[in-house]
């Protein structure tokens, strides 16, 4: 055999001899690891060229190379090997593990660190997990994957914003949004939509998920203090994909699916229900002597047409549904690189339709990340992405009469969607036919987002480097809306049109030095000093007009009556200086972290502009101690702790001065009025956070995880303190008040089976957070100035915005009246709402307990993974009950309600949930009847897939191919039977557009089923 082989090689050898000087020849060989097993996927590159290949499944490679050339073999976790090519044509390589490199490196903000060196609470979510959720913006995929992090989307409308809260609420009226950082640079995020009435559009939706390598969530002070001033609410680091040295690898990811609302929601009353309930109301009010008399009168009156037409039902919930709402995303990327450069380039497309007629989201995006060593010690990197998104929005955030979501509940079932001939039924009334409006009106949000992050890194000496970064985040936003001239709210004015243009430009400059001081192998210091400057400018131009001469004209050029034109400019600036020091002793056995940041923000007056923030963190890697060095039980054990001060300046612009606004006119002339009360003393809100935790891996990594306790005290809150309105103002920002958040977070992962054929792991996390207000401002009489709304109150000793309202005592079986407890708790009841005392209802709208569960199973080439989420311990309020779910005139005469109303009092002795129907229109009486337990469980993602076996991929010449079927939000369990709306509600007011903690009429999340393929070649 050997003999034969040699003879077979002879022609090759002849060839190689004949081209012996400078000519290319083919070299092959096998690459193995330390234990002599073949290593697939090793990058083999001819040094000094871009010529390269990879080893196959059996570790074999072959490559053409000049004699005398050098081959470089590199693989993650292995020391790189360079071999020169001599006369032989076989180069076999055994690689050696690189213990240093094998350890996972985590991006921690301005730096990257080995996992064992980290002293804070940091969670990394990789692209595999991120891709399990099909959504335009990547933040939604964090739900359930990070302990202590909750995501609440205001709306499931494609492209809408989601709220992320890390470890609860740290501020009452300043923002609670975490800071977003993309590739090391703080960026703006949130809603770019110009009108709070329409669907929101997340600027994060401008990023293609397929370009994101990982997201790191920083939770404690030692991790966030480097972003000090803005770190109080946690930091979300997004790292984009990079190329790797080696052959160009192409990846194609594609999926296509269909969606529906994840929950059925309340079922609207039918016209027949309505007739019965309305008649009952007339009878109850004594307007008719009997119920039958009322039915007869109604059938002769408003129900006559319906009766004559054979009593058809409108079923608006079905009429507005988009039955085949598709969602598709496609991306193709290429990545690779040579000895001195790497690149990653991608093109992406996403298209998602809404689950009701009208809304949709479409995005096209591209990215190029490029890095090149300009000289041996100078590296230039440029990460660029651009996208254009189009969102067809709708009037969504309140009960807008033109919204298809409102129509589902508010539209009378006596109005049929279509005429007999199939055309739209253009009925009158306050609520026009939304199907016609969605067809003929325009509500369009467009976002162009360009992110360009450019950096230069200069390795001055082995230990000292200098870097500079310039980042531009450009967000060009266009909005237009058109109400048609034929029907609906545009009709009286012969059509309305409105158009906005807004440009947000964010610059970030960073300059920094890194210095590594190695006193000895056992004492290593890392220092970083950094200067950062951020400028944010927003330019706005908008106009509106009405009266169009004809259909098909949408732009302001054609309006007969221009109504308004407006433009504005706003800006803010942030400057900071930061220093980081890390001391690592005895190969990371002991780690000490120090950080300090000084930051100035234009939101505060000159004397209060700067704030100082700092942190200390320490870690003890016990498993590196000698007594555990050879332990079979303990694979990883680390104790860590940190303490620090972080800040929050997340309030509106220009609030410290008393200001005249000029956004007024009278009699056609400009006018001014005081619009800002002002407070020159305004300064930073700060949080002191203590975090202690343990990271562990036991029994050969059978179980691994971490547990942490945190306590965060937020002081000098940027509190929007209510004023006596006799000042002309409702509130004023003051630095006053204190609140605490405490909690426990546990992450666990079990590798139950880990063999070549079968892999099964179960992961879970849970987190608790306990929130309490500990200090509020006092008024001159020493009375605490609580902040009370009709449903919530902020008071010391209670969680922020604990529900606070009269307590429902049920329906009086004798009178049919809804009653409340006079003292708010028990005993005497009253039917007079004004007599019922409002009391605390035990919790607020923020879950106090959250948990996530991951399930991963793999058998040979098949795999299943699932991801679920639980949130509980909170209560949420039904936002529109007055009009939809109360036994008064609204659901039966003016609008429509849902079938839960059928459970109502009809005669003495009845035990019913709802009181006797009346034709009267009761005012808002918010009470605990409509306050529900918020606990829910949701199966967020379930994926079943199949990887093409190696033998097949080799045959067709590709690296890998995966087919999968994926479901999102397939199951939802809600604890409270009376909670009919989606349980995931917004805990923030979104700048006042929605009421926090209340169910709304916004789109619920989508239940999606999609098929997809991932291909790499």
């Amino acid at each position: 055999m050997k003999q034969k082989f040699r003879w077979m090689l002879l022609p090759l050898m002849v060839l190689s001899i004949s081209f012996s000087y400078g000519q290319e020849k083919k070299v092959s060989g096998t690459v193995t690891d330390q234990s002599n097993l073949p290593l697939p996927g090793v990058s083999v590159i001819v040094v000094g060229t871009t010529n390269g290949t990879q080893t196959d499944f059996d570790g074999n490679y072959s490559i053409t190379v000049e004699q005398g050339g050098e081959l470089r073999f590199s693989y993650i976790g292995q020391k790189t090997v360079i071999r020169s090519v001599g006369a032989g044509s076989v180069v076999n390589v055994q690689m050696e593990e690189d213990a240093q490199a094998l350890e996972e490196v985590v991006v921690t903000g301005y730096t990257s660190q080995r996992r064992s060196d980290i002293t804070g609470s940091i969670v990394e979510v990789d692209s595999d997990k991120l891709s399990q959720i099909i959504a335009p913006s990547v933040d939604q995929a964090l739900q359930g994957n990070v302990s202590g992090l909750t995501v609440s989307a205001t709306s499931g409308t494609p492209g809408s914003t989601a709220n992320i809260r890390i470890r609860g609420i740290s501020s009452i009226t300043a923002g609670n949004e975490p800071l977003y950082v993309i590739d090391g640079v703080p960026v703006s995020n949130g809603n770019v939509g110009a009108s709070g009435a329409y669907s929101s559009l997340s600027s994060l939706a401008g990023l293609d998920n397929n370009n994101i390598k990982s997201i790191t969530v920083l939770k404690d002070a030692s991790a966030t203090a480097q972003y000090g001033a803005r770190g109080s609410n946690g930091v979300i680091l997004i790292t984009t994909k990079r190329g790797r040295e080696g052959n160009t690898v192409f990846e194609v990811n594609s999926s296509y699916g269909f969606q529906r609302d994840a929950i059925t929601g309340p079922v609207p009353l039918t016209a027949a229900n309505r007739l019965e309930l309305a008649a009952e109301a007339y009878f109850n009010d004594g307007i008719t002597a009997t119920k039958q008399e009322a039915i007869d009168a109604l059938l002769a009156g408003s129900f006559a047409d319906w009766d004559a037409a054979g009593r058809p039902e409108a079923h608006w919930d079905r009429a507005v549904r988009n039955d085949a709402a598709s969602v598709q995303q496609h991306s193709i990327s290429a990545s690779g690189g040579g000895e001195d450069h790497t690149f990653f380039a991608s093109l992406g497309y996403m298209n998602q339709e809404g689950t009701v007629v009208g809304p949709s989201f479409e995005r096209i995006s591209g990215a190029v990340n490029f890095s090149k060593d300009l000289t041996s010690n100078l590296t230039f990197s440029s990460n660029n992405s651009a996208s254009h998104s189009l969102q067809n929005a709708f009037l969504e955030t309140s009960a807008y009469f033109e919204s298809p979501r409102s129509a589902k509940f508010f539209l009378s079932p006596l109005n049929l969607p279509y005429n007999a001939d199939g055309s739209y039924n253009l009925f009158g009334g306050s609520l026009p036919n939304p199907l016609y409006l969605m067809d003929n009106n325009i509500y369009e949000n467009r976002l162009t987002r360009i992110l360009s992050n450019n950096s230069l890194n200069w390795q001055l000496t082995d230990n000292l480097s200098y870097g500079t970064v310039f980042n531009v985040d450009y967000q060009g936003y266009n909005y237009r809306n058109y109400s048609n001239r034929n029907y609906g709210y545009g009709e009286p004015t012969s059509g309305d049109a409105e158009q906005f243009d807004r440009t947000n430009v964010f610059y970030v400059f960073q300059n920094f030095f890194d210095y590594k001081l190695k006193l000895s192998d056992n004492h290593i210091f890392d220092f970083k000093v950094l200067q950062e400057y951020q400028s944010n400018r927003r330019y706005f131009l908008g106009g509106s007009g009405q009266n169009f001469a004809d259909d098909g004209l949408y732009y302001l050029d054609n309006v007969g009556t221009p109504n308004s034109v407006s433009s504005s400019f706003t800006d803010f600036y942030i400057a900071s200086y930061m220093g980081l020091a890390k001391y690592s002793a005895f190969d990371g056995k002991y780690v000490l972290d120090l950080s300090y940041r000084r930051e100035g923000n234009s939101r505060f007056s000159q004397t209060n502009r700067w704030g100082n923030f700092w942190s200390v963190g320490a870690a003890w890697n016990i498993f590196k101690e000698d007594f555990l060095a050879n332990s079979n039980v303990v694979n990883n054990l680390k104790l860590r702790g940190s303490y620090g001060v972080t800040g929050n300046a997340n309030i509106g612009l220009n609030l410290y001065q008393s200001l005249f606004g000029f956004d007024a006119d009278y009699g056609g002339e400009g006018a001014q009025f005081v619009d800002t009360f002002g407070n020159q003393d305004l300064s930073w809100e700060t949080s002191n956070t203590l975090d202690v935790g343990v990271d562990f891996a036991l029994f050969n990594n059978f179980v691994s995880g971490s547990a942490a306790y945190f306590s965060r005290t937020s002081k000098d809150l940027l509190l929007n303190v209510p004023l006596s309105q006799t000042t002309g103002f409702a509130s004023q920002y003051q630095n006053i008040g204190e609140l605490t958040n405490k909690g426990v977070e546990v992450d666990l992962n079990f590798n139950i089976v880990d063999t070549e054929d079968v892999q099964f792991s179960l992961g879970g996390n849970f987190a608790t957070v306990e929130n309490e207000v500990t200090e509020l401002p006092l008024d001159p009489n020493g009375v605490e100035r609580t902040i009370t709304t009709t449903t919530t109150r902020i008071e010391t000793g209670h969680p922020v915005r604990e529900w606070y309202m009269p307590t429902w005592a049920g329906v009086n079986p004798e009178t049919g009246a809804e009653e409340w407890y006079v003292n708010g708790v028990d005993g005497e009841t009253t039917a007079n709402f004004n007599e019922a005392e409002a009391v605390f209802q035990g919790s607020n709208a923020v879950p106090t307990f959250t948990a996530g569960l991951n399930f991963n199973f793999k058998y040979k080439n098949f795999f299943i993974n699932a991801n679920g989420y639980y949130a509980g311990g909170h209560k949420i309020y039904e936002g529109w009950h007055l009009y939809l779910n109360q036994s008064n005139a609204y659901p039966i005469l003016a609008y429509n309600g849902y079938t839960s109303l059928l459970d109502r009092w009809q005669q003495p002795g009845d035990i019913a949930r709802n009181g006797a129907f009346t034709t009267g229109a009761t005012p808002w009486q918010r009470n605990s009847k409509y306050l529900y337990d918020g606990d829910f469980i949701r199966l967020r993602a379930l994926t079943v897939g199949f990887d093409l076996p190696r033998s097949a991929t080799d045959r067709i010449g590709i690296n890998s191919m995966r087919f999968f079927v994926r479901g999102n939000n397939l199951l939802t369990w809600v604890k409270d039977d009376n909670l009919l709306f989606d349980p995931e509600v917004d805990v923030d007011s979104q700048g006042g557009d929605v009421t926090p903690g209340e169910t709304g009429l916004e789109t619920p999340p989508a239940r999606t089923i999609a098929v997809g393929v991932n291909l790499s070649f």
């Binding site: 400057y533 700067w610 006018a671 002309g728 100035r785 229109a921």
Partner: protein, 459 residues
Amino acid sequence: MKINKYAMLFAAAMALIVTSCTTEDLDPTLAQSKSVEGSVTRVDNLYSILKGAHNTLTGAGYYGRDMIATNEVRSDNTFSNGNSGRFTTQSQFQYNSNTGFVWDNVYALLADVNIIINTDLSTLEGDLDYGAHIQGQAMVLRALGHFDLLRTYGQQHAGGGSLGVPIVTTFKGEDLFPSRNSIDEVKQAIYSDLETAFEMMDSSYDTSKIFVSKYVAKALEARVAVYFGDWGRAVSASEAVINSGLYSVIGADAFVSSWTTEGGTNVMFELAFSTADNRGPDALGYIYRYPADAPGGYGDIQVLPEVLDIYDADDVRLDIFGYQDGGTALRNIGKYPDTANGADNIPLFRYEEVILNYAEALLETGGDAVTQLNLIANNRNATPYTSVTKDDILNERRRELIFEGFRFDDMMRTGQSATAVGSVGNVISTLSYPNNLFAWPIPLSEMNANSNMVQNEGY
């Protein structure tokens, strides 16, 4: 050489770091705003703030709609059918301390007018006499604001109690947590402001009816005096307006069309609206009627059918009324008639009201009310009076001023009961006079922010 290169880079970088940002560099741009301190330097600036104050009056929460509509639906003129869910709470007297009304709007107005009034004229450039006139105009608005607060929140019709509202005369003054002044204190403050204003103002500066003017001070004084039964003051204030000779009662032929035109001879002060500046769907006209005949838009306020009975058959004011929804819903068609845009000006002071106030004051003081009342009746094709009773005057006021927000106060000051009317026009209950519900509750937000504040009885 190599050292030099590094040194230069290092120096450059350090220079960048050290010099890059100072505290001043972080000053925000005030592109749309100006600081209150130091930006009022010219009389023109006062005029600009005065326009801002008038603009506050035009808000839908104030005279743009709610002030007028709320009182109209609580009176025996109209009720809310709840078509868009609006004003049912008011029509049915169901409001509580969470039901918003004008409290915040009025005090926002006072913040601006107080800045005007408290500006030291000697520090300004420009025509200082005009400056004094503007300060007088601001004082009239302050008096109007205090009167609107008093008639809404004062305890005068709620069954005893002397609580009025806090008088506020400074912006960002010493006392940010005021308590309530008595009804009488507020009344005196109103009279005092109006008297001072009248003295400060020069009618040669009154060139436009969309701003309060010298004789509006007197018209308002007469209105307040009639409200409180200060008949002597009502007589003299009315006479001051009448004797100015600036205004006249509109004739019968022009009565209906006067609602579509601006600056009529009968108008003393009207709020400016236009196709470019209006309240859109929150406009007064939009709550009084549907955009088309069938129910649509808002159109919540419907007229009680018996209202028609108080008019003579030939009375030109009947042309204000009309029907919608297939002839079933009686409507205000003629006042604030622009439903699509809400571009009609809203008169707040008409000469006819001054005449009616004068007639009533004359009747109460033994003067010749008949002549005055016939100035109205004769110009409306109504039967002239030969003698006049208090009821005649109240009825004439109702006929003339219907839909303009006067009727509820007339009912109150004459001690009449009110009716809570349901959304189909059904009587829900009768509220006898006096009644806690006749005074609006102090907003809960005010109660929570200011422990010096005392809530009205019954809330």
